[in-house]
């Protein structure tokens, strides 16, 4: 048993911690590593930065584009067919 987790293992735990509560052993191993590793501290911060960016990313830049007219016509026809075959 190694006494200290590697960066690679720590990134796996940090990523998983974004999705679920880690088991206590993993949590401790991750915190111990983070206490001494600047790179991994930056990494965990970046995971959170990315999430924030994705979730707050407004649709501003694709606000311009919507359902293409051709698709809209096709869907309208499908709806029509469904009710009046």
């Amino acid at each position: 048993m190694k006494w200290m987790a590697t960066c690679k293992e720590t990134t796996e735990r940090a990523s998983r911690a974004m999705d679920e509560r880690l088991p206590i052993g993993d949590r401790v191993a991750m915190r111990l590593h983070l206490a001494i590793c600047t790179n991994c501290r930056h990494f965990t911060q970046q995971l959170q930065d990315m999430r924030r960016l994705f979730r707050t990313e407004t649709t501003a830049n694709d606000e311009m584009s919507g359902l293409p007219p051709e698709a809209r016509r096709r869907i309208a026809t499908e709806l029509q067919n469904k009710l009046a075959p």
């Binding site: 999705d19 970046q46 994705f54 501003a60 698709a71 709806l79």
Partner: protein, 188 residues
């Protein structure tokens, strides 16, 4: 009630549903399919629409299931990259002993509208470069905010598989953002 409503939904919410779907499916064609299937399903289910949610909320709820269905279908067709390129890409980030190959720098906090819009563009481009199915699973989690457990269950993949895909997608996206200049400005 019926076709009139459905055509109205298409007119009023078609663009919105399309944009929501495209952000998660990363494909115009699939997003069009998702909108079509949503409206057809809504037509069938409209008797059950109690009217206590706004039509948009109700339709978006149906859309979410259609998006998951489309991703699940793709998962069946496409072999999930297990080890091949994913593993290599991950390994290249670390040295043999499991430490970072390159030092990491903290990212600055993009503030101005110009920085943010540049970043949105890069985010989109990076997501395009992920394997489609990986980008889709990643978006269900990070964009749509679905719980991982729900994602695995809906897509019928094992939690391990799901989690490996998410982890690789995150490593890739982080790397891609940096390669495209994100974070450099903060360090300069």
């Amino acid at each position: 009630m019926n076709t009139l409503d459905a055509h109205r939904w298409l007119a009023d919410h078609g663009d919105y549903l399309f944009r929501v779907a495209r952000r998660q499916l990363h494909s115009d064609a699939l997003a069009e399919d998702a909108v079509q299937e949503t409206l057809l399903a809504a037509l069938t289910a409209q008797a059950r629409y109690a009217g206590d949610a706004s039509p948009r909320t109700w339709l978006t709820g149906i859309l979410k299931h259609k998006i998951v269905d489309l991703i699940r279908r793709q998962l069946r067709e496409v072999e999930i990259p297990r080890d091949a390129d994913g593993e290599e890409a991950v390994d290249s980030l670390f040295k043999q002993d499991g430490h970072w190959a390159e030092p990491l720098r903290p990212w600055g906090n993009p503030q101005t509208e110009a920085e943010l819009s540049q970043l949105r563009r890069v985010l989109g481009e990076c997501a395009e470069r992920l394997k489609p199915v990986m980008a889709q699973v990643f978006s269900l989690r990070e964009v749509a905010g679905m719980e991982t457990e729900e994602i695995c269950k809906e897509l019928a993949i094992t939690p391990t598989n799901c989690w490996v895909m998410l982890h690789r997608a995150r490593l890739f996206m982080r790397q891609c953002l940096e390669l495209n200049g994100f974070g450099k400005a903060g360090a300069a």
